[in-house]
Amino acid sequence: MVNQLGNYSLYIALLISIFIIIKTSLSFRNSSNVLGGNIFSLISVQSLMVIISFLTLIYAFVTSDFSNETVYNNSHTAKPLFYKISGTWGNHEGSLLLWLLVLTIFLFLFTIDSKGLSQKYRTLTLFFQEIIIFGFLLFILFTSNPFANIFPIPSEGTGLNPILQDPALAIHPPILYLGYVGTSIIFSSSLGAIISGSINKSWASHIKRWVLISWVFLSIGILLGSIWAYYELGWGGFWFWDPVENVSLMPWLCLTALLHTVFTLEKRGTFQSWAIILSITTFSLSMSGTFLVRSGILNSIHTFANDPSRGVFILCFLFVLIFISIFIYFFYQKTITADPTKTFLISKETAVLINNLFMMFFLSVVLIGTVYPIFLEVINNEKISIGPPFYHKLMIPFLIPFLFFMAIGPNIKWIKDKIGKINLKEIFIFIISIVISYIFVSKFGVSYLLSLPLFIFSFFLFFVTIRDFFGKNINISQKISHFGFSLLILSILLNGVLAKEHSSNMRVGDEIKFLGKIIKFQKIEVIKKQNYQSLIGEFNIVDENNSLSLKPEIRIYDQPQTITSEADISSTIFADNFLVFNIIKNDGFYNVRYQIKPFMIWIWISVILISLGGILSLKKKNV
């Protein structure tokens, strides 16, 4: 009954969408003002309908209404309430409904936020956004309806994949989606702006907020996914260059480039075309990400359903949008008027351009690494997998100059500056960085690709961003974000270089020695929990000064029957002690992996700092 309510509200939303598309396209002809009360209330009703259907689905999950097929396939009565709710978006149908929810809410907010801008631009943006909403509504209703019924009603559901039952992962999808879907508004708005010929400073300062919002959510979303992988998957890393991680990184790189471009456009009125291209690319990348993980073309934990018809739909829809935007871009390019003021080589504009070039380079590396295996398989029938060495080899040599430009770029003035400005202080910082890096690299015997220059420039950027905190010509949000980034690079480097690992098979009572520490497997306890059985191991790690007790866990879930291992991690500001164990066979042996991961916590903190910079920048009217 309640189930039908959700279904019907989606149909109403679909009708509204069709109506708005027709109404707005008619208005282009007779250039009437359609954005009066009527259309706005229609948008509100549409958002409300989608909210209702989303709440209905949550309700079905909470009450374990197994007459709903989605609930039956992804829930179970024995699941804790929290995971019943998060199960709503832990599946293909529900996650698409969440996507739609964000689309409509963002449109609603955009319509309010854009009051005061030109009618034509607003109507066009509304038109494009409604096309996207329409496409997703069709997709949901006809290929993956979350409100499908099953009869006879089963008495029990099949359960949520236990790997997904984790707090970080419960909020990871909504946050990431806010970022992903936020790019749709940027896309629609840039198309609207190019047609209405209003790509100028005021458009930039308007769209800047939406870019920032998407960027902040995307950063936090990626962070949460990374934290989840670190704690839950038990591989002891935070980034694996897995295709699914890559598809979230690509829009992030593009959005970061766009962010800098939009700042420049706002200040100086240049890079109009480039801003449009980036807006289109960012959204296309977000959509491709959805396609790649949802169609089953890549196989991963995110691939909920492998129904080819769904893949074909998203693929066609994605390419229709890409074609529309390519043609619009080419036909309306002439509306872009260049800014007459001349820009010199040594200027902030150039620095932003360099930033963008590097971002595009990193983006292409990730893009090639992600889609190349798919292309190769289709063309050549050959299966390959591209791993971290590929990314490291291609990125590190370019990361070094990137770090250098990032250190000097923010201090360069707009329009024109002098090279001679480089002062003794910077040279001094550079020399200190060389000394520190040299001592460090030789002491720890690091032999990694280009390790010395990499360390030198990371330390250089780190010190420069710290010094910039005392300068006046950079705003506070930028200082925080850039400092966060330098911290991120430095902690990733230190983490990668100094990490130590030991893996062995142990029984209860066994002891091993590792780096002057003694790891002792004390005991194992079996506890029955609500929907799983838990084996808790107790390990003591003793060295000269102190002892540490870690309790990793193996969970054996009943519904569906799966075994997951939860690492136990003790974090300090210097290093994480990471311990995870797995069942081998039923002969009393367990595979125990102990890792020391230095500066792990700083990786999380730095990403939070980067996002914090974005949030602060949102609050200020003028950056």
Partner: protein, 174 residues
């Protein structure tokens, strides 16, 4: 002019990507890396279906030639479809077919075999499904062709055997 060339090349490239991805959708997406070389541990003990004795899977792979491991269950509908292929293999080729009865009820499993015939040389049980997962199974049915001498999985067939996989399989054996 140059603008048109730009537009055309972008459109062509986009179309190209579109068709590649469209084609990619048809491909099987189960990536089992390095199947050819993967050496899997067959060293686990399991109970026979038709007796109370236990046996290591290893011991069943000790003759010359090929073995086929088939993971099946009486509750699995596709297993019924592929059964005729297994019976066919059994009668025409010199091949030891080892059945792993996955998460099944013994009575139902025996019923299934008496109804459809028994193609298996040996059947061992895997009531908890752990051994099958250790072998790399995603679900039932799955069939692995094993070279007994090197104890290497030569080919994995994910999902029920059909005409295509039957032809492929017989090609390898011959």
């Amino acid at each position: 002019m140059s603008k048109n060339i730009k537009l055309i090349s972008i459109v062509l490239f986009t179309l190209f990507s579109f068709f590649i991805l469209l084609k990619g959708l048809d491909k099987s997406n189960m990536y089992s890396p390095n199947i050819q070389k993967s050496k899997i541990d067959f060293n686990f003990k399991s109970k026979y279906l038709f007796s109370e004795d236990e046996v290591f899977l290893n011991e069943l792979l000790n003759n010359e030639g090929w073995s086929l491991i088939n993971i099946w269950a009486s509750w699995c509908l596709p297993c019924r479809d592929e059964h005729v292929f297994l019976l066919n293999l059994k009668s025409t080729y010199k091949l030891s077919i080892i059945g792993i009865n996955y998460k099944d009820d013994e009575k139902n499993a025996k019923q299934f075999l008496s109804e459809l015939g028994n193609p298996y040389t040996n059947i061992i049980t895997d009531p908890k499904g752990i051994n099958s997962i250790e072998l790399g199974a995603f679900g039932v049915p799955e069939t692995y062709l094993i070279d007994n001498k090197s104890k290497v999985i030569i080919k994995k067939f994910i999902g029920p055997l059909d005409d295509n996989s039957f032809v492929e399989l017989t090609k390898i054996i011959q």
